[in-house]
């Protein structure tokens, strides 16, 4: 019974998501576009950050690498982002493997610091190689048309982001029960014990970082197409890296739904706070946003998804008891 309720809920949510552009205005749609985008990034981060327990604060670097790869391919070589996104993913994946190989022997905060430094390095490289990236000015996407992943209406981006996010959820659903997923969680829980069952801890972490970066890179391409431009300081900033991690942790790390829930709450909230308080006192919206983050982390340390899941299963258990009592 529980399973059917779950599927019905999912189906209803999916239908709502699919028909939303029919009655929402462009602004609302664009809020959802961003929410889905950040959800996809949070899900990608979850592979290494949540399941793998390796706290990356450099994922904006992979967004940047992905966005620049496809944009350079499009603008300089005329290659469609529908192809370019795969190159973007692969290049970001290579970067993920690189940071994994160099830094994954470090633990906890030291790994996090290394990822911050790595993202900074990527930003500086994007600024430095002016003849390819056009430096601090960034690049405008001048090509048009759906064949180049450029759409006239927000609703197309909406469906593109929605599809990406759902793909992310399905991927994590599969991933968390796969041999590799179980190995990654095992090493997160105890590295020595993981070795004792035959898991190559170092290699598994590197592959985890590669997968996570690959997905994030693809996200970067789609984001660039939505923005219509790329610029180092817009894409590769610590704010973005922390936002990706924060969304996943608030929603519920190491779960296929955490990133989605976190994003659907935090992204509209941050946009809303920004639109109300952004013009009043500088930084006020950020402070309020920070307070909300802090409250969630303190009150629901295992994330919103885990909290809801427990609540629902408690209610279900009680109902079952009641039902049982009546028939007896």
């Amino acid at each position: 019974m529980k399973i059917t309720i779950k599927w019905i809920t999912m189906a209803i949510l999916l239908i709502l998501a699919l028909i939303l552009p029919l009655f929402a205005n462009e602004f609302i749609i664009s809020v959802f576009v961003q929410a889905y985008f950040w959800a996809f990034l949070a899900l990608s981060w979850d592979v290494i950050g949540g399941y793998g327990g390796q706290f990356s604060l450099g994922h904006a670097a992979f967004v940047g690498i992905g966005a620049y790869t496809s944009t350079i391919l499009l603008e300089s070589y005329g290659i469609s982002p529908w192809m370019g996104m795969w190159a973007a993913g692969i290049l970001a994946g290579i970067a993920g493997a690189f940071i994994g190989i160099t830094s994954l022997r470090l633990r906890g905060p030291f790994f996090a610091l290394a990822t911050i430094a790595f993202a900074e390095l990527v930003r500086l490289l994007l600024l430095y190689f002016k003849n390819v990236t056009r430096g601090p000015l960034g690049m405008l996407i001048t090509q048009t048309g759906p064949q180049n992943m450029i759409f006239e209406q927000q609703s197309y981006y909406y469906y593109l982001m929605l599809a990406s996010m759902i793909t992310g959820v399905i991927f994590l659903k599969w991933f968390e029960n796969s041999k590799f997923g179980i190995g990654l969680v095992a090493l997160r829980e105890d590295e020595e014990a993981a070795e004792s069952v035959g898991i190559n801890v170092y290699k598994t972490k590197i592959i985890g970082a590669t997968i996570s970066a690959f997905l994030t890179g693809i996200g970067g391409t789609i984001y660039a197409q939505w923005l219509h431009y790329v610029r180092p300081d817009v894409l590769v900033k610590l704010d973005y890296s922390t936002q990706i991690a924060a969304i996943d942790i608030v929603g519920g790390a190491s779960s296929p739904y955490g990133g989605v829930i976190g994003s659907l709450i935090l992204v509209p909230l941050s946009l809303y706070l920004n639109s109300i308080f952004g013009g009043m006192i500088a930084g006020l919206s950020l402070i309020l946003y920070g307070v909300v983050l802090l409250l969630v982390v303190v009150l629901l340390p295992s994330g919103i998804y885990e909290f809801l899941r427990r609540r629902i299963s408690d209610i279900m258990a009680k109902k079952m008891e009641k039902g049982g009592g009546k028939t007896a």
Binding site: K179, I182, A186, A194, S196, V197, G198, N200
Partner: protein
């Protein structure tokens, strides 16, 4: 007992931590299908020896041969895949995985490293039944009590498909009846499943009753080696460890 060929040969192992010599030129041979008890006072180097054999520590001197192959300095996950499994003195469960997933991980990554989840699952269930934990298969490992954690870790080690199994204080903290059950189970692993086992144990009743042979470490060196009844009467062992002769 007929002398069987050796499965493990440890030759002159020295392991130092800074100025402390944890193991000093220890040599030891373990025969196939043997249950070897490894005893000695706290800090005598028993766990260190386990860590050296399984690749967690690199020794400064000496070599380790498993089935005639030099395994000195190999990474732990490689040694597992060759058929040497271990448990830890303080259990290390994968807390947020279920008991079944804990044991399955060993089947999926261990010696056979089966990619098939169904196969891994049935193997894991088999060993969980063997240690009597099959009813707890679907709960999170962090909710297990200490006895269950030890049994789960045993099942997990067994699921890697070992020929040689190293048990580090498996029965410590168990009450007498639980202890005798586990001890019997360990003996059956040798007699029925054909494993070779080295067990570190402080509970003399447990070691002496099931070991084929006992090896005594003292301050990182070999103090004595022999049949349980000989060790129990050995004056050196009595002085260093046992305190008084014990009945076997």
């Amino acid at each position: 007992m007929a002398k069987l060929p050796s499965i493990l040969k440890i030759k002159g192992i020295t392991k130092k931590f800074g100025g402390l010599v944890a193991l000093n030129k220890v040599s030891l041979e373990v025969r196939r299908h043997e249950l070897l008890g490894l005893i000695g006072p706290n800090g005598s180097g028993k766990t260190t020896l386990f860590n050296v054999i399984t690749g967690y520590y690199k020794p400064e001197e000496g070599r380790i041969y498993y089935k005639e192959q030099d395994i000195t300095g190999l990474r732990p996950h490689k040694i597992v895949k060759m058929g040497v499994a271990r448990t830890f003195q303080i259990p290390k469960p994968f807390g947020r995985l279920t008991v079944l997933e804990n044991v399955m991980s060993a089947a999926m990554y261990g010696r056979e490293a089966t990619a098939s989840k169904g196969k891994a699952k049935s193997l894991a269930m088999e060993w969980l039944k063997y240690v009597g934990l099959d009813k707890k298969a679907d709960i999170e490992a962090k909710t297990l009590n200490i006895v269950e954690r030890k049994l789960m870790e045993l099942a997990r080690a067994l699921s890697t498909g070992p020929d040689l199994l190293l048990l580090d204080e498996l029965v410590a903290g168990l009450n007498t009846s639980e202890m005798m059950n586990v001890v019997e189970l360990v003996r059956r692993l040798v007699d029925e499943k054909g494993l070779t086992i080295i067990m570190v144990e402080h509970v003399m009743k447990a070691v002496m009753s099931i070991s084929d042979r006992v090896f005594v470490l003292h301050r990182g060196e070999k103090l004595a080696e022999g049949k349980p009844e000989e060790i129990a009467k050995d004056p050196k062992v009595i002085e260093a460890y046992l305190g008084e002769p014990i009945k076997v």
